[in-house]
């Protein structure tokens, strides 16, 4: 399997606070990685650097063969290939769910409107929300909104999907419906990097686990080894607290 994302010695500072320290990471195609760690450990910052919602100051990030830096001219093209799902959904409240899904394909990929709508309906069907297509985001529950946001990202037909704590803002009852949609996506062979605290989900779909603390990758291991046989004490402590 070929690698699709590569991070080499990535460092990032927010003013004087170092958010990421010497991050090295390789992600292969169709690999599913779950990143966990305490809050403030840099998990979100890490995946936000991958589509440059945050800028890294040092090191190299290569996505699908293209390096991301301030000189990247076709940053938009790279972003179009990397889908992202946010903690707060970030649906566009002035557009219907269907329009949320078709907007980027039409304007960024120049897809004809009919094709974009067919694609959107297919993806909405996939997350089981097709019957809500004409509604506005404000009329849906949190779980429905997050599934719509997932469908919106999928409509760009991305090669990689990033999930930034997709279930943290949801009621417990709604978490399952979102996780189910994500499991479904993982089974279809999508490359995924997921920041989450849902360890059940991690055990089910992740190939590799990453544990981060204080801006560093403390441990990276196969999922089975990670849960059954963690190496570092910090990981053990963390797992003992959340499992």
């Amino acid at each position: 399997m070929s690698k699709i994302i590569e991070l080499k010695n990535v460092n990032k500072w927010f003013d004087k606070f170092q958010a990421l320290k010497d991050i090295n990471l390789e992600v292969n195609q169709q690999e599913r990685i779950v990143i966990c760690g305490p809050s403030g450990s840099g998990k979100s910052t890490l995946i936000r650097c991958i589509n440059r919602l945050e800028e890294h100051q040092d090191g190299q990030i290569v996505v699908d063969g293209k390096e991301i830096s301030e000189n990247t001219k076709d940053l938009e093209k790279i972003r179009a290939e990397v889908g992202m799902v946010f903690q707060q959904f970030n649906l566009f409240p002035h557009l219907s769910i269907l329009d949320n899904c078709t907007l980027a394909p039409i304007w960024v990929k120049k897809m004809p409107k009919k094709d974009a709508e067919a694609l959107a309906m297919k993806n909405l069907e996939r997350v089981q929300i097709a019957d809500q297509a004409k509604k506005f985001p404000g009329q849906l529950s949190g779980g429905q909104q997050q599934r719509s946001a997932l469908a919106r990202a999928l409509c760009m037909e991305p090669k990689i999907m990033l999930f930034d704590e997709p279930t943290s803002a949801l009621d417990p009852e709604m978490i399952k419906e979102v996780l189910d949609a994500m499991v479904d996506l993982a089974k279809a062979g999508m490359t995924m990097i997921v920041v989450t605290h849902e360890m059940g989900f991690a055990k089910e779909v992740a190939d590799n686990m990453i544990f981060m603390d204080q801006g560093q990758i403390v441990e990276k291991a196969k999922t089975k080894d990670f849960f059954e046989n963690p190496k570092s004490d910090r990981t053990k402590l963390f797992l003992s607290q959340i499992l």
Binding site: N90, V108, M156
Partner: protein, 418 residues
């Protein structure tokens, strides 16, 4: 005095209501007599006291009928809404008495004693408003000094405008786009050409002759349409990451916001031509339009910037993560939401703009209020300032009220969050 003995209980409820109502009635009779017949039931008392007697009667009457849960629906309503305490009772009486005292004379001046017939000032004999003045000058108030025989051109221009705007509401979505593009980019040129003339066999009418309500509309419409996109660009510029663009925008906005409009207009009329090379000439009206547009654009920029800042960061990030560049992100995601948020602020700026147009008198252009000003100094019509300004005020009020209602409807129509 112990007033509690004057409190009713269920037994003598009716007698209290009767006594209270009678007192209030006397109060009203008193105020009506003193307002219209210059007499007074309490005329035997000293002047100052007798002036206050209606209030005292009314207050005491209201005190007597202030009964909680009397069972009478009307009475309960009056008590909760107008008569819940002595202070509220006093306010209620003051407002009602003021209305009785001052509204009828106002109506008399406006309508009943007003003069409508005739053609000269001498026809106004009855003492009320002399609407003859407005009637005679109406043509000038609407068209300014525009030649009478050419006024059909202004009529045609505005009629076409209204028809086009009306059509844009009713035609199917597909054609709407074209009508709006035509309205914004093609129509203004045609309209201006039609009114100014000079080609196509139309007689040239210099802008100094334009005036009245039609000029108010022309100036407002142009400034409204132009200041909006300029203001939006300035707002985006002020939030730009590129220092050159940011500081230019800040400088521009603060410069225009820091000067009074009247100064700007004066500069545009007097100073600006000095900077032009000899022989070039920019029409006075064009200069004024540019000045007002840029002035209002600076205010618009800050209104729009308020909307931009109110949007959560997540909206920008979601748009970026879908591969949208700066312009797509702003035109598809950010501006539609931000502008919707600031519709009240935009309406505010627009209303202020319309009401600022009379200031163009400093460069010698006379719109509605300016024409009134001119007409009242006509030797045959001296002393008609009141009628003229009331008329102008009413017209401005109607224009502004319509705009304000429209903005409220727009707000409701665009509301998608709940």
């Amino acid at each position: 005095m112990n007033l509690s003995m004057l409190k009713s209980d269920t037994k003598n409820l009716n007698s209290f209501i009767a006594a209270g109502s009678a007192l209030i009635f006397i109060g009203f009779i008193d105020i009506i007599l003193s307002s219209f017949f210059s007499t007074n039931i309490t005329a035997f008392l000293p002047n100052k006291i007798s002036y206050l007697t209606p209030l005292l009667f009314g207050l005491f009457g209201l005190y007597l009928i202030r009964i909680e849960f009397s069972g009478n629906k009307l009475l309960d309503k009056v008590n909760t809404n107008f008569n819940s305490s002595n202070f509220n009772a006093l306010l209620t009486l003051l407002v009602i008495f003021a209305l009785i005292k001052y509204v009828p004379p106002l109506l008399n001046w406006f309508v009943f004693d007003a003069n409508f017939a005739g053609n000269t000032k001498e026809d106004c004999t009855s003492g009320g408003a002399c609407w003859v003045f407005v009637k005679v000058w109406l043509n000038r108030f609407v068209y300014g000094l525009y030649p009478d025989t050419e006024q059909w051109r202004i009529n045609t221009a505005f009629l076409t405008l209204f028809l086009l705007v009306g059509a844009s509401f009713f035609v199917p979505q597909k054609f709407k786009k074209y009508i709006i593009i035509f309205l914004l980019f093609v129509y203004p040129i045609i309209g201006l050409k039609l009114i100014s003339g000079g080609d196509f066999g139309l007689k040239y009418v210099e802008t100094g002759a334009w005036g009245g309500l039609s000029l108010t509309f022309i100036v407002s419409a142009f400034a409204l349409i132009l200041c909006f996109p300029i203001g939006t660009i300035l707002a985006l510029g002020r939030r730009s990451k590129l220092p050159a663009i940011r500081y230019t925008s800040i400088g521009f906005i603060e410069l225009w916001r820091g000067v009074p409009l009247i100064t700007v207009l004066f500069m545009s009329a007097v100073m600006f031509p000095m900077f032009l090379p000899d022989g070039t000439y920019v029409d006075k009206l064009i200069r004024v339009l540019i000045a007002i547009t840029l002035f209002e654009a600076a205010y618009m920029a800050e209104v729009v910037r308020g909307g931009l800042q109110a949007l959560p960061k997540g909206q920008y990030e979601a748009a970026k993560s879908l591969g949208m560049g700066y312009w797509k992100m702003h035109f598809l995601i950010i501006l539609p939401q931000a502008l919707k948020l600031v519709i009240p602020g935009i309406a505010n700026t627009f209303l202020a703009l319309v009401k600022d147009t009379p200031l163009i008198f400093v460069v010698g252009l006379l719109e509605l209020a300016g024409m009134v000003n001119l007409a009242k100094t006509n030797p045959k019509w001296l002393g008609m300032a009141m009628e003229g300004y009331v008329f102008a005020g009413l017209v401005f009020w109607v224009i502004c009220y319509v705009m304000s209602r429209y903005s409220q409807n727009l707000e409701k129509k665009l509301k998608t969050e709940r």
